[in-house]
């Protein structure tokens, strides 16, 4: 399996000159990927939470990104991109970036930039998980989880796929992290919500859809850096990836809105926004591999399936995945990875091989990621539960009890 080989595949192996244009584009992409969480995802999630837990919801995304950034530098990057150890994990040679210097390159861009870009991916993946756990998780438990998950779950999977690990040889296609990021985060979120247990009063009555709209917009735009930046260079592949990303989002929006409108009689704004995100997730593994017309199909289908899952199947799971992290990122990540096997074509990207059994390879790689993610995340959650406990005592006044703050003080003390 070779999930996102394109991340390096696109760069000829002998590339060894810094390209300033490629560097400029990845500098920007790095900023855009950051924008996805800081403040994109934080707002997307906070708008959907109750106003009395909005502070905690914001805090989890933001602190998660910060912890991932620091942990990535100290150890994570080395576990992902250090010298390969049995195909499973990187060595410690890049801990604290000890073997990286100002002149090191990764392809045509400075290695420092590559490290920073990868750290942002780790931060996005981690922050996604928080959506399943809001309104009842202890803040300290989230901090410990963040650290362990980035190092023990995310970094190894990234290694398998992008760091020359065992999946890298199998030929699976994953342009920007459909499996590594979205399926992985979705599965961890599901497992976490299961172990954490349901909220006493589980509902999603968003306290502010305009806040969620700010988040959706920043996710959409930031995703251009996530997907088109995954070309790791400026040029034709980045261009088609960006075009496809926008089409995936747009078709995803319609792929949720239309069935919802027909079946449930109203086209909701939250449905449109959820659909746009689902479409973005679906196109992520395919962005630099498929024709634009196919991007529309992928975005539409992934989103429609997420819609049906969230609306009709989710309740059967009896898991309080509060903001549908599994339903949107897990499901659409999976569908996108599978559809990539069907639609990827050498005529778009001649650096890839589409094998006869590509569909099978895609499914196999998803299973590997999902199983590892589920088991390891479960272990981490159970460990924290045993040592510190997971549940916050006070759900009625979470923000006050955990952070001593209220999100809003309108008309309060004058």
């Amino acid at each position: 399996m070779r999930l996102v080989i394109i991340l390096s595949g696109f760069l000829p192996a002998f590339a060894s000159e810094l390209d300033k244009a490629d560097t400029a584009w990845i500098l920007v992409s790095n900023a855009l990927v950051t924008l996805m969480v800081i403040p994109g995802l934080a707002l997307f999630y906070a708008g959907l939470s109750r106003s009395k837990s909005a502070v905690n919801t914001l805090s989890m995304s933001i602190v998660g990104f910060a912890i991932a950034s620091v942990a990535w530098l100290i150890l994570g990057h080395s576990l992902a991109f250090g010298k390969d150890f049995l195909g499973f994990v990187g060595g410690l040679d890049k801990a604290l970036l000890s073997s990286v210097s100002i002149n090191s390159l990764q392809g045509t861009i400075p290695e420092y930039l590559f490290v920073s870009f990868q750290a942002a991916f780790a931060g996005v993946s981690l922050a996604l998980i928080s959506g399943a756990l809001i309104e009842r998780l202890k803040f300290s438990a989230w901090l410990v989880f963040s650290l362990l998950w980035v190092l023990l779950v995310y970094a190894p999977i990234a290694h398998w796929v992008w760091g020359g690990g065992f999946l890298a040889k199998d030929g699976a296609l994953d342009f920007a992290g459909g499996a590594v990021v979205h399926l992985n985060a979705g599965v961890s979120a599901l497992v976490g919500a299961l172990i954490l247990g349901a909220r006493k009063e589980s509902s999603i009555l968003p306290h502010s859809l305009p806040l969620t709209a700010v988040g959706t917009g920043l996710l959409w735009v930031g995703w251009f850096g996530f997907n088109a930046g995954s070309a790791l260079s400026s040029g034709a592949i980045a261009s088609i990836a960006l075009l496809n990303t926008n089409l995936g989002a747009s078709a995803g929006l319609l792929g949720w809105m239309l069935p919802e409108w027909v079946i449930r009689k109203k086209p909701t704004l939250l449905g449109m926004m959820s659909g746009a995100v689902a479409g973005l997730v679906g196109i992520t593994p395919a962005a630099g591999f498929v024709m634009p017309a196919d991007a529309i199909i992928i975005g539409f289908i992934s989103s429609a399936i997420s819609f049906f899952f969230v609306t009709y199947l989710k309740h059967r799971l009896y898991v309080d995945d509060a903001l549908d992290v599994f339903g949107i990122h897990g499901i659409s990540g999976l569908i996108g990875a599978i559809l990539t096997g069907i639609f990827a074509t050498k005529s778009v990207n001649d650096s890839i091989n589409v094998l006869p059994n590509q569909l099978f390879i895609q499914i196999k790689s998803c299973i590997a990621v999902a199983i590892y993610s589920a088991i390891m995340s479960a272990l981490i959650f159970l460990l924290i539960k045993a040592i510190f406990g997971l549940r916050s005592k006070e759900e009625q006044a979470l923000d006050i009890s955990l952070h001593g703050e209220s999100a809003y003080n309108i008309g309060g003390k004058t």
Binding site: S203, I204, L205, E260, V310, T311, D324
Partner: protein, 112 residues
């Protein structure tokens, strides 16, 4: 003196206020409230799950008046707040034993 409390539909506020002012009322206090009654609530939809919102937004108007003005004020409110559809609201008349104007410490009817 009496306090007249009227629960009305929010979009009627301006009309009722203008009618009261025309009827010679010089002051009132208004609160946003939620009402539950015969009028059916609506349903809100989020990601396919439906939530029934029982409590509908209403406006409570409070006017304190002299006894002799009670009927006039009731009639004025009924006339200006009526749409004839369920949910138009109620008026309650409550005795008031004393009124004070904080600015001047006047008491009784002079303070209204």
């Amino acid at each position: 003196m009496k306090k007249i409390e009227a629960i009305i539909k929010p979009f009627k506020l301006d009309e009722v206020k203008d009618a009261l002012v025309e009827a010679g009322i010089g002051g009132m206090t208004v609160t946003e409230v939620k009402g539950f009654g015969q009028q059916k609530g609506h349903t809100e939809i989020y990601r396919g799950t439906e939530y029934v919102i029982d409590f509908l937004p209403k406006i409570k108007i409070e006017v304190v008046v002299r006894d002799e003005d009670v009927q006039k004020v009731i009639d004025t409110i009924v006339k200006s707040a009526q749409t004839g559809r369920v949910g138009d609201g109620k008026i309650f008349v409550i005795p008031v034993e004393e009124v004070v104007r904080i600015r001047t410490n006047e008491r009784g009817e002079a303070a209204i």
